[in-house]
C-alpha cells in the first residue's frame, strides 16, 4: 500500500469516528422524536470547550477533563430538550418550530462561546504523543483512540437499544407514542434520556474533534452538516448504516482533500448527498418496515 493511500486512510478513520459519533446521536434523536437537532453542532462545540477548559485552565489530565465534561454535556443536552424541544414538539407544526428553536440555540451558543472563550484557535492536548509507524507513515495514537471511542460507543448504543429495558422503551416510544403511554412509559423521560445519550456521544465527538483540529466558536456547524449527509447516506433506519456511512464519507473527504485540496471536500460530500437522494433516497442500508 502506498504511503499516500495510508495517510488518507488514517485521516478517514479520524473523520469517520467524528461523524459516526455525531450522526448516531442525531439519528437517535431523529428516530425517537422525529425532529432534527440543529443544535447538535453547538453541543459538540460546548463539549470541546469544556474539555479544553478543564484541561488548560483547571489543569486536569486530558482524559480526566474529558470524563468531567461528559456528565455536564449530558445535563446541557437535557436542558436543550427542556427549553428548545419539549415546549414545541407537540404543537401543530412542531417539527418546524423545533428546527427554528434549535437553530436559535445553535446561534446563541456560538455567540456565547465568542464571549467566553474568544475567537482564537484552541486545541485540546493529545492524550499521548506516541506514534505507531506503519511503513513510512506514522499513525498517531490519538487516531486509534478516536477510532476505538467511536466503535465502542456506537456499538454500545446499538446494544443499549437492542438489549436493554431502556432501549426497548425508546423503541416503543419511537414506534407508537400513544401505545407506549398506555403501557406505562413516560415519553418525556425517554426524550430526556435520548438527549442525554446523544449529548454524551457529542462529547466524545468533541474529544475527537478537539484533539485532531483546532476549535473556534464557528466550527460547530460544519461537522453537523456532514453528519446530516452521513444520515442521508447511511439511511437513518439502522445505526449500522450510520456507521458505514460515516466512514465512507470520511474516506471521501480525506481522499478529495488529498488529491484535489481542502476546498473541494465539502463539494464532493454534498455532491454525494445529491446523488444519493436521486438514486437511493432510502439510504445505503435499508431498514426494516
Amino acid at each position: 500500500m502506498s504511503d499516500a493511500l495510508l495517510s488518507i486512510l488514517v485521516s478517514a478513520l479520524v473523520l469517520g469516528s467524528l461523524y459516526s459519533l455525531m450522526a448516531s446521536g442525531l439519528s437517535l434523536i431523529w428516530s425517537t422524536l422525529g425532529v432534527f437537532n440543529y443544535a447538535h453542532g453547538a453541543l459538540l462545540l460546548l463539549g470541546a470547550y469544556l474539555i479544553w477548559t478543564f484541561s488548560e485552565k483547571v489543569g486536569l489530565p486530558v482524559l480526566l477533563a474529558f470524563a468531567a465534561a461528559i456528565p455536564l454535556l449530558a445535563l446541557l443536552g437535557m436542558l436543550l430538550d427542556l427549553v428548545a424541544v419539549r415546549p414545541f414538539i407537540s404543537r401543530a407544526n412542531g417539527t418546524l418550530l423545533v428546527m427554528v428553536s434549535t437553530l436559535a440555540i445553535a446561534n446563541a451558543v456560538e455567540g456565547a462561546a465568542q464571549l467566553i472563550w474568544g475567537p482564537q484557535n484552541k486545541q485540546i492536548k493529545a492524550v499521548s504523543t506516541s506514534t505507531f509507524a506503519l511503513g513510512d507513515v506514522k499513525i498517531a495514537s490519538s487516531t486509534l483512540i478516536a477510532l476505538a471511542l467511536a466503535l465502542v460507543l456506537v456499538v454500545g448504543l446499538i446494544t443499549l437499544l437492542r438489549k436493554t429495558k431502556w432501549g426497548m422503551a425508546v423503541r416503543a416510544v419511537e414506534q407508537n407514542r400513544d401505545m407506549a403511554m398506555l403501557v406505562g412509559i413516560r415519553p418525556a423521560r425517554i426524550y430526556a434520556g435520548v438527549f442525554a445519550v446523544a449529548s454524551i456521544l457529542a462529547c466524545a465527538a468533541a474529544f475527537v474533534y478537539g484533539t485532531t483540529t483546532t476549535i473556534t466558536p464557528t466550527k460547530g456547524f460544519e461537522p453537523l452538516l456532514t453528519a446530516f449527509v452521513v444520515l442521508v447516506f447511511g439511511g437513518s433506519a439502522t445505526l449500522w448504516g450510520t456507521l458505514v456511512g460515516a466512514f465512507t464519507i470520511g474516506l471521501l473527504e480525506a481522499g478529495t482533500t488529498y488529491w484535489l485540496g481542502l476546498q473541494w471536500s465539502p463539494v464532493a460530500v454534498f455532491l454525494v448527498l445529491v446523488l444519493i437522494m436521486l438514486v437511493r433516497p432510502q439510504g445505503l442500508v435499508k431498514g426494516r418496515s
Binding site: D178, L182, G184
Partner: protein, 259 residues
C-alpha cells in the same frame, strides 16, 4: 348483575365528561358507571365520540370538563402512563401496537408496569395459554401478523398489565366472522377471570353476546341504554345506527360502511 349495581360501589364512574380535539367538543356531558366484573358495550355510529370518550377516560385525550373516578380515586386529568398503574388498561385497535417489536416484546412491555411486574412470567404463561398462537409467533414482529393475530396480541397486552378494567376499542374491526367469534370466546374467558370490560365496537351482535349492558352514543352523548338480555330486532338495530336524528342520518350511514 343489575341488582348488584345498586349495592356495590362502581369500579368506574364517569360524570359529565366533555372532551374533544382542540376547541371542537366531540364528547359532551357523557356519564356512565361500571360495576366490578361488569361488561359494558358502547354502541353507535363512528365519529360520534366513542373513541374520544375512551381516550379521555384512559388519560390519552384531553378532558375539557367532568370527572372520572376509578376504583375509589379521582383520575381526572391523570396521564395515561399513570392510569394504567391504577388498574385500567386501554387497548387500542390491534393495528396500533409496536409493529417493529416482536410479539414477546410487545407483551413484556405491557407487563412491565410496576403493578404487574412481579407476576410477569405467570401472566405471560396465562396469556399464552389463552392464545396458543401467540406462543408460536412469539419471535415474530407484530407488524407482520394477520389482523386477527394482532388483535390477540392487543388483548394479551391488556391482560399483561393485570388490570381490573380492560377498555377495548373496536376489537373486531376488519376481522373475518370466524376470527370475531374466536375473539368473543376469549373475551368470555377474560370475563371469567373477574375483569370488567368497556367495549366499543361496530358489531352489535358481538357486543350483545359479550356485554351485560349497553349505551348508545350519538353526537357525544348517551342517547339510550339497556341490558343485553333482550336482543334488539333488526329495526331497532337500524334505528340505533341510522338514528332518529334526521340531521345526522346520512352521516351515520357513511360512518358505518365497514359493519
Amino acid at each position: 348483575m343489575n341488582a348488584d349495581q345498586e349495592t356495590v360501589s362502581p369500579l368506574l364512574r364517569v360524570s359529565d365528561l366533555a372532551a374533544g380535539y382542540g376547541r371542537l367538543p366531540v364528547v359532551r356531558s357523557l356519564s356512565m358507571d361500571i360495576a366490578p366484573g361488569e361488561a359494558l358495550a358502547l354502541l353507535g355510529p363512528n365519529g360520534h365520540g366513542k373513541t374520544t370518550a375512551l381516550r379521555a377516560i384512559s388519560g390519552l385525550g384531553r378532558i375539557s370538563s367532568g370527572q372520572i373516578v376509578f376504583d375509589g380515586s379521582d383520575i381526572t386529568g391523570m396521564p395515561a402512563y399513570k392510569v394504567v398503574n391504577q388498574g385500567m388498561m386501554h387497548v387500542p385497535q390491534g393495528n396500533q401496537l409496536f409493529p417493529r417489536l416482536t410479539v414477546r416484546e410487545n407483551l413484556t412491555l405491557a407487563g412491565g408496569i410496576p403493578a404487574a411486574r412481579g407476576q410477569r412470567e405467570e401472566t405471560l404463561e396465562m396469556v399464552q395459554g389463552l392464545f396458543p398462537k401467540l406462543l408460536q409467533r412469539r419471535g415474530q414482529l407484530v407488524g407482520t401478523l394477520s389482523g386477527g393475530e394482532r388483535q390477540m396480541v392487543a388483548i394479551g397486552m391488556g391482560l399483561m398489565a393485570k388490570p381490573k378494567l380492560l377498555v377495548l376499542d373496536e376489537p373486531t374491526l376488519g376481522l373475518a366472522p370466524k376470527i370475531r367469534y374466536e375473539i368473543l370466546e376469549t373475551l368470555h374467558e377474560v370475563r371469567r377471570l373477574g375483569l370488567s370490560l368497556i367495549v366499543a365496537d361496530g358489531d352489535i351482535e358481538f357486543l350483545f353476546e359479550l356485554a351485560d349492558r349497553w349505551h348508545l352514543v350519538e353526537l357525544g352523548r348517551i342517547v339510550s341504554s339497556g341490558t343485553t338480555d333482550i336482543k334488539p330486532s333488526h329495526e331497532e338495530v337500524m334505528d340505533m345506527y341510522v338514528g332518529s336524528h334526521p340531521s345526522s342520518a346520512t352521516n351515520n350511514i357513511e360512518g358505518n360502511k365497514h359493519v
